[in-house]
């Protein structure tokens, strides 16, 4: 199954880079979102998968069952998802601002417009 995950991650990453190379600002932001999602899965995978039991201590027991999934990468990824969302939201705000300033989402046109101004 790991090979399947690895293939999936690599496709997400490749697609993310491809979108990042586009000239449309919104497309680039979507690419960043894809890369963030891919990175999250890499961290998740690095804790080793295989268990389907969540890392929750059963009622009546004192410790976590040996079969439970690895809790540490989950904690890391959980905050990473939220941070990634904050980053994407910020990038979208930048795009909105850029559009209202330049009336375009084309990064090349923005660079050209900046050159004229500066």
């Amino acid at each position: 199954m790991t090979v399947v995950y690895a293939a999936m991650i690599s496709i997400i990453a490749g697609a993310g880079i491809y979108m990042l190379l586009a000239r449309n600002l919104v497309r680039m932001i979507l690419g960043i979102a894809l890369l963030a999602a891919g990175a999250n899965v890499v961290i998740f995978l690095s804790g080793r998968l295989g268990s389907v039991a969540p890392p929750i201590i059963e009622r009546g027991t004192e410790g976590l069952a040996q079969t439970a999934a690895n809790s540490l990468p989950q904690a890391l990824v959980l905050t990473a998802i939220v941070i990634g969302f904050a980053l994407t939201a910020f990038a979208i705000a930048l795009a909105v601002k850029a559009y209202s300033s330049f009336q375009t989402l084309d990064t090349a046109a923005m660079t050209a417009a900046e050159g004229e101004q500066g």
């Binding site: 999602a37 201590i57 976590l64 904690a75 941070i83 904050a86 979208i92």
Partner: protein
């Protein structure tokens, strides 16, 4: 001696007093000069108290005091006061007192603040100079040395509105501080080779250093430091340029003190330097060339101050040649000449400053007839000039006798002596011109012809120094026993009888002195002709490193501009290509080389033979397909939906691998993501269109190739990670302690709010910062917004949607609170709860407008976020108070009668997370919506009034 104040105290008082003067001097107004002069005058007196103990020619008296600074690397404030340091200390403090008085009069009352700041810088400079000449530790010496360079930068560029002053300040800083760096290298080598950083210990064993293989490099670096500081050829150009400084600074820095620091260092290192005849000859050579080039330029230049500056450079050249000469006579020459030169040169700078200040004319040719307006200054100038010309009975005469004597003792008599005679004759001429031209020539002026007349503050300096120049010559016993004598003995290294007399009989020195004065007299007589002759002479002024300086300076600027243009070219694509290219190459390199032997992989076959879970396989295929569709679809709407779908797929992957918390988070985030991006896209339909885009697919072959290469790299890296040995120690620690220590069954949540709560606090802070940034970035003037903005007036949704939305909102808020509080033991928690609540508000906003939704929050989103952050921080305070550890959560039992519940500060923390996330997301939604409303408003306005208004509005 009861009157001797410890050296460390002197230094501390100097620095503390100068720093305090920045703040207190502005209060004193007119009196700031005399008040500020108390500091250097007091320090001067403190040094005078040491004088009697040094006055003996039977032994070398040295006062030392050690203050440990960084003992581990042998850096200490070892202070040493011997005769040579004393000479400098007296000049530094004594002249500082006069300079401060002079500066107070130099700056008019209306510039009181400027005056106070200038005086404070002068005092600070004085303190740094004192530190340099009192330090026996070479590291401390270096620090004070660089301090003087820095403060002189402030002083030269003090008139910061003048571009020339700023340029000169930068130039002197680059050259002297750059030379200082070379010096630092030399001192470090010397310290490591000698095994000590004590200057006295280092120079007590010069043979050891001379035997070192690093000797040549060490000496070269030290010479570089000293030559740049003391304006030796070819670095001499910075000193005349530094005449941009206010005259009091020039009088202080560029005649008496800073430029002599290089001389001081060379004299201190003389025992080491004189181990090699080659080094001495090099110094002699540079000193001679400096003298000659400076003498030439002194004739050629036309400014009062620059004439003085070039004559100073010539004097510094004379001092360097003297240090290069051996024997006790040279020691007397060095000490005597430093004293005499400081007295007359500072006086002449003062007087030149008065002339320029009173007439506004900086050129020699333009000033005349000031005798009756400035009688005291004129008298002082004449006296100082006579001392500079080396006429008896001035101290300048005695000093020159010994300078010539030392040169006569040198082996290659003729060349050195001839150069000395010529240069000294030029100095005589310069002294004569500076004394005669402004005061005694041309039509005599009245007071009304000048900007101001004689003032006490400005004339006191030259008068005192000029009188000292003649008094110390007539009563030569005083310098002989108290000042020059102890200094010469300290320089010589062993006691000897120091003669310093006005009349030593008819000696070759006296005859040469007469020759010098005679030639100088001829120069004065034929001054105009001499200047014309020199002007036609070969362009010696090109023989300076100034051209090289500008070549390097401009070249460096051009290089950095070029680099910026190439690297920071503004093309986002080239940044991305460079970044991922480097990352991919580094990753592959790391795997191939870093794990050589293991091939970068563990047991790959174990991975391949793992069982495939069919449902998961389908989900993964869905995710991969979404990624491909998102990347190649031309339509942005399709792309956004595909990205959302991919997120849901990943949430499923989390869910099916025992991570319900992650799945819930991912679901909420993905929902919010799609809603927000759609809001941006749908409300601004124009932005989905890009000029020049055709067809349904966005296909770029080159980019596709690069992306595939990156994807393959990632594939290999992920497999490599998966086959590495695995360590579960930390995970097991959390699993074992979760319930017993933190009373929580959901280990993921416990890690977030308890074990790693500080990390989580940092993360919600990042969320808050992002939201505040968005709030500021998208802020718009209230007046720009239409009244109805944010209400659902643009597109009225159906009644059914509005009704269900209200219903859903209530349900979602209830669910989010439930999820928040059960999170410690079951899947859930602050992050997930906050996201679900945000989604509830999003639904409400979609149906009834953002303003309506915002009103349901009661508070401003940013305030909600702030409350959340404060709660999270507050929850950590009990732990800080009780356990001394911030964010160590506290627990207690809440007895409800029938049962007791465990409650803890983690709940407050998680509530903080909840509110921060909720406030942040809402802040973002409000701003994006307002921006959209503005754009729509503008478009409407454009449609109604025609396209001309658009141009006006933009």
């Amino acid at each position: 001696m009861p009157f001797e104040i410890s050296l460390a105290t002197i230094l501390i008082v100097a620095f503390a007093g100068s720093i305090a003067s920045f703040f207190i001097l502005p209060r004193f107004g007119k009196l700031s000069g005399p008040v500020a002069a108390l500091l250097p005058a007091g320090l001067f007196a403190a040094f005078i108290a040491y004088l009697p103990s040094l006055a003996t020619d039977e032994q070398i008296v040295t006062h030392t005091q050690q203050v440990n600074w960084v003992p581990s690397i042998d850096v200490n404030l070892a202070l040493r006061l011997d005769g040579f340091s004393m000479l400098f200390a007296l000049l530094i403090t004594g002249i500082a007192a006069l300079v401060v008085l002079y500066a107070a009069a130099y700056y008019p009352d209306e510039k009181a603040n400027e005056r106070a700041r200038f005086i404070a810088f002068i005092l600070l400079f004085m303190s740094a100079m004192l530190g340099a000449v009192l330090s026996d530790n070479v590291i401390a010496l270096f620090i004070f040395w660089e301090m003087t360079s820095l403060i002189s930068f402030m002083l030269i560029g003090f008139k910061s509105t003048s571009a020339a002053a700023r340029k000169a300040a930068l130039q002197s800083l680059i050259i002297t501080a750059g030379g200082g760096l070379a010096l630092f290298g030399g001192l470090l080598i010397a310290g490591m080779e000698a095994g000590t950083f004590s200057l006295s210990a280092m120079t007590a064993d010069p043979e050891g250093l001379a035997a070192s293989p690093w000797f040549a490099i060490m000496v070269a670096l030290i010479l570089l430091g000293a030559f740049t500081k003391s304006a030796q050829f070819p670095f001499h150009f910075w000193l005349p340029n530094a005449m941009q400084a206010p005259t009091p600074a020039s009088a202080y820095l560029h005649s008496a003190t800073m430029v002599k620091l290089g001389i001081y260092l060379l004299a201190r290192f003389d025992p080491v330097l004189s181990q090699s005849t080659t080094v001495l000859n090099i110094m002699l050579g540079f000193g001679l060339v400096t003298m000659l080039v400076a003498a030439y330029n002194a004739i050629r230049t036309d400014g009062l101050k620059s004439m003085l500056a070039y004559s100073t450079v010539a004097s510094l050249g004379i001092l360097v040649t003297l240090i290069a000469l051996e024997g006790p006579g040279a020691s007397i020459g060095v000490a005597g000449f430093i004293l005499a030169h400081a007295l007359y040169k500072a006086a002449l700078f003062f007087s030149a400053g008065i002339v320029i200040h009173a007439t506004g004319k900086p050129k020699v040719a333009d000033v005349h007839g000031l005798l009756y307006v400035f009688p005291i200054t004129a008298a002082a100038t004449v006296l100082a000039s006579l001392s500079m010309a080396g006429l008896p009975p001035f101290i300048g005469f005695i000093a020159k006798e010994y300078v010539i004597e030392a040169k006569l003792e040198a082996s290659f008599v003729f060349l050195v002596t001839a150069a000395t005679v010529v240069v000294n004759a030029v100095l005589v001429a310069v002294a004569g011109v500076l004394a005669l031209k402004p005061f005694f020539t041309g039509p005599m002026l009245k007071k009304s012809d000048c900007i101001h007349g004689e003032t006490f503050g400005m004339s006191a300096g030259p008068a005192v120094l000029a009188i000292l120049g003649i008094a110390l010559g007539v009563f030569a016993d005083i310098p002989q026993f108290l000042i020059v004598g102890p200094a010469a003995i300290a320089l010589n290294g062993e006691p000897f009888y120091v003669s310093f007399e006005l009349w030593a009989g008819i000696t070759p020195m006296l005859l040469l002195s007469i020759l010098v004065v005679a030639v100088g007299g001829v120069f004065i007589w034929q001054w105009g002709r001499l200047r014309r002759l020199v002007a036609h002479l070969a362009p010696i002024e090109k023989l300076s490193a100034e051209r090289g300086y500008y070549f390097l300076f401009d070249g460096l600027l051009a290089l950095s501009k070029g680099t910026t243009r190439t690297v920071q070219n503004g093309s986002m694509r080239s940044y991305v290509v460079t970044t991922i290219g480097v990352v991919a190459v580094a990753l592959i390199y790391g795997i191939v080389v870093g794990f050589a032997g293991t091939n970068g992989f563990g047991d790959v076959s174990a991975l391949v033979t793992q069982p495939i879970r069919p449902y998961l396989l389908i989900v993964c295929l869905l995710v991969a397909a979404s990624a491909v569709v998102a990347s190649i679809s031309r339509s942005l709407v399709v792309a956004v939906v595909a990205v959302g779908l991919l997120g849901y797929g990943i949430a499923l992957v989390f869910l099916m691998n025992g991570a319900p918390d992650l799945a819930l988070t991912q679901f909420s985030v993905e929902t919010l993501f799609v809603v927000i991006v759609m809001a941006v896209l749908v409300k601004l339909p124009t932005i989905a269109i890009r000029r020049g885009d055709h067809g349904r697919f966005d296909f770029r072959p080159g980019d596709a190739l690069l992306s595939i290469a990156f994807a393959l790299t990632v594939f290999v890296v992920v497999l490599s990670i998966a086959t590495k040995p695995f360590d579960l120690t930390v995970t097991q620690y959390f699993a074992e302690r979760s319930l017993s220590d933190a009373f929580g069954r959901n280990v993921v949540n416990v890690i977030l709010v308890d074990f790693r709560a500080l990390d989580t606090l940092g993360e919600i802070a990042v969320v808050a910062f992002a939201a505040i940034s968005v709030w500021g970035l998208l802020s718009i003037r209230k007046t720009a917004l239409p009244e109805t903005s944010g209400d659902s007036t643009v597109t009225m949704p159906s009644l059914i949607f509005v009704t269900t939305a209200r219903f859903f909102f209530v349900i979602m808020i209830a669910v989010s609170i439930f999820v928040l509080f059960r999170g410690h033991n079951e899947p859930g928690g602050g992050f997930i709860g906050g996201l679900i609540a945000s989604a509830g508000f999003a639904v409400l906003a979609l149906a009834l407008g953002v303003n309506f939704a915002q009103k349901r929050l009661w508070l401003h989103p940013i305030v909600v976020m702030g409350i959340g952050l404060v709660l999270a921080i507050v929850s950590g305070l009990p732990g800080a108070w009780l356990n001394g550890s911030f964010l160590t959560h506290q627990w207690g039992d809440l007895n409800l009668g029938f049962t007791s519940i465990k409650i803890g500060t983690t709940m407050i923390f998680d509530l903080g997370v909840f509110l921060t996330v909720l406030g942040g997301v809402l802040a973002f939604m409000v701003r994006v919506q307002q921006q959209n409303a503005l754009v729509i408003h503008r478009e409407k306005a454009t449609a109604e009034t025609g396209p001309t208004l658009q141009g006006v509005q933009q």
